[in-house]
């Protein structure tokens, strides 16, 4: 890898710019994300900047189980973020819809709509856990620049083999329990 590529990897690792998007959350995770910019946790020591426009950001931080109203907005904003990009799902809602598991107003976990790189569990996750998640996403961006990783994780298919619990339906959890028992 020549000097320019190494410089680019180093810069992507040390300059993660965030855009925060709320996909229908209760705002608990949003408050903890803002709290990670306060003096006690200070995300700026890693070079993190909370940007005002999705076009400026590298890392899209999404909170909340994805409600019907939010699906199109999330897809639009994901397309507006300019590559190379990474997505961090903050809280347990975007990963597994948490307590809202049977709700009629939801459209499934986040990785049905956008490819997610890092999941930060917690309800809400602590601000230091969120900063760890953002640092891991910055590392992933740097590794993609150095071609150690494939370009982007794929969006999960909806049903059928390989869906791997993309929606938390009972059929797949039964299948998982059988696999675990065997």
């Amino acid at each position: 890898m020549n000097l320019w590529n190494r410089l680019m990897c180093y810069s992507r690792r040390h300059s993660p710019w965030l855009f925060h998007m709320n996909g229908g959350s209760c705002n608990g995770c949003d408050i903890e994300l803002i709290a990670s910019l306060t003096p006690r946790y200070d995300a700026e020591q890693l070079g993190v900047r909370l940007e005002g426009s999705p076009r400026h950001a590298d890392i899209l931080c999404i909170t909340g189980p994805v409600t019907h109203n939010a699906v199109n907005a999330i897809k639009t904003v994901y397309d507006q973020v300019c590559g190379p990009k990474a997505v961090v799902a903050i809280g347990s809602c975007p990963a597994t819809t948490n307590v809202f598991i049977d709700s009629r107003t939801l459209d499934g976990p986040l990785n049905r709509h956008v490819p997610v790189d890092v999941f930060v569990p917690g309800c809400p996750p602590r601000p230091d856990a969120i900063i760890q998640g953002v640092a891991k996403a910055a590392e992933i961006l740097a590794e993609r620049a150095s071609k150690k990783l494939p370009v982007a994780p794929v969006v999960m298919p909806l049903v059928g083999p390989g869906c791997e619990g993309a929606c938390a339906c009972s059929a797949t959890t039964e299948k998982k329990n059988e696999e675990v028992q065997a």
């Binding site: 680019m8 005002g52 300019c82």
Partner: protein, 308 residues
């Protein structure tokens, strides 16, 4: 021969000192100083030293959205115009003692200092986004409000010397008029550099990123660079007005760097201590409170001229 000498000095001042070779690292340094000082005053740690440089390199590696039509060409052109204007303004600063060759003019310096904010306004409108338009409208109102004070102050200093040459400005005699003008210019600097309390065009919570909303990648890197060069040019102008006339060129350069650093720290203290003012409060501040000092400066300049 004369033309060759002029070209040589012009290129040296534009490219080496205080031009690009000094100004671009100084721009990154000043951006870092402001972020670090504000962070320390807020009880945080702040970014590491090379942070603006890494931001710049990272932005160069990002892709840009497709742009089409005349608006697309214009959108790509505005950041380049802003960077060249700011770099030219830095190159014109009368830091070193006069050595012949291309000297420039106060009118040229003021025009080059104005161009970056004109480019921001035009960029917001040509981006076609509603947030860009609102941000550009706010930037335009801000520009009208502080420019009156800024231009009156600097023109009154020039009028008292009967000349527009920059070397004469660098060697001003000490007088109350000079200090009145310097104070007026320092008061306009936070608005020029979009710092708190006059950071309205970049109000993230209200209008996303204002004029810069649709910009990405290398274009955004150029905007950040032009912002940093504006820092160097504006603080450099105030520093050359404050600095006494010196003969040794390296002493003059050191004093210039020290004074700009002090002004950057002063602006950081103001930025950390204040909150963002609304647009009507900003305009009222510049037109009611500070205009009186600019008018006093002009009046005293005219008075001195007609007495002399």
């Amino acid at each position: 021969m004369n033309l060759f000498l002029e070209l040589q000095t012009a290129l040296a001042r534009l490219l080496i000192f205080p031009g690009l070779l000094f100004a671009v690292p100084a721009a990154w340094f000043f951006l870092w100083v402001e972020r670090k000082a504000v962070a320390r005053m807020q009880g945080r740690i702040g970014p590491p030293f090379m942070q603006p440089f890494f931001d710049f390199i990272k932005l160069l590696g990002k892709s840009t959205p497709p742009r089409s039509g005349i608006a697309g060409i214009l959108m790509r052109a505005w950041p380049l115009i802003a960077v060249s204007a700011a770099a030219g303004a830095v190159g014109l600063l009368p830091v070193l003692p006069a050595s012949g060759g291309f000297q420039g003019d106060l009118i040229l310096l003021l025009a080059l200092l104005e161009l970056p904010s004109m480019c921001i306004i035009a960029a917001g409108f040509s981006s076609g986004s509603i947030f860009g338009e609102i941000g550009s409208a706010r930037e335009a109102v801000l520009s009208v409000s502080y420019n009156i004070v800024f231009l009156l102050a600097i023109l009154s200093i020039a009028a008292s010397q009967h000349t527009f040459s920059l070397q004469a400005l660098a060697q001003l005699p000490s007088s109350p008029l000079r200090w009145l003008g310097i104070v007026a210019i320092l008061v306009c600097l936070p608005a020029k550099l979009h710092l708190n309390p006059f950071s309205l065009p970049n109000a993230e919570q209200e209008i996303y990123s204002g004029p810069m909303t649709e910009y990405a990648g290398p274009e955004l890197a150029m905007w950040e660079l032009s912002h940093g060069l504006e820092w160097v040019a504006a603080t450099g102008l105030a520093a050359t007005l404050i600095a006494p006339a010196l003969t040794l060129w390296w002493v003059a350069a050191l004093v210039f760097v020290a004074l700009t650093f002090a002004i950057v720290l002063l602006l950081s203290v103001v930025a950390a201590a204040t909150a963002r003012l609304q647009i009507d409060t900003t305009v009222r501040f510049y037109w009611q409170c500070t205009l009186i000092f600019a008018v006093l400066a002009v009046a005293s300049a005219l008075f001195m001229r007609f007495r002399a």
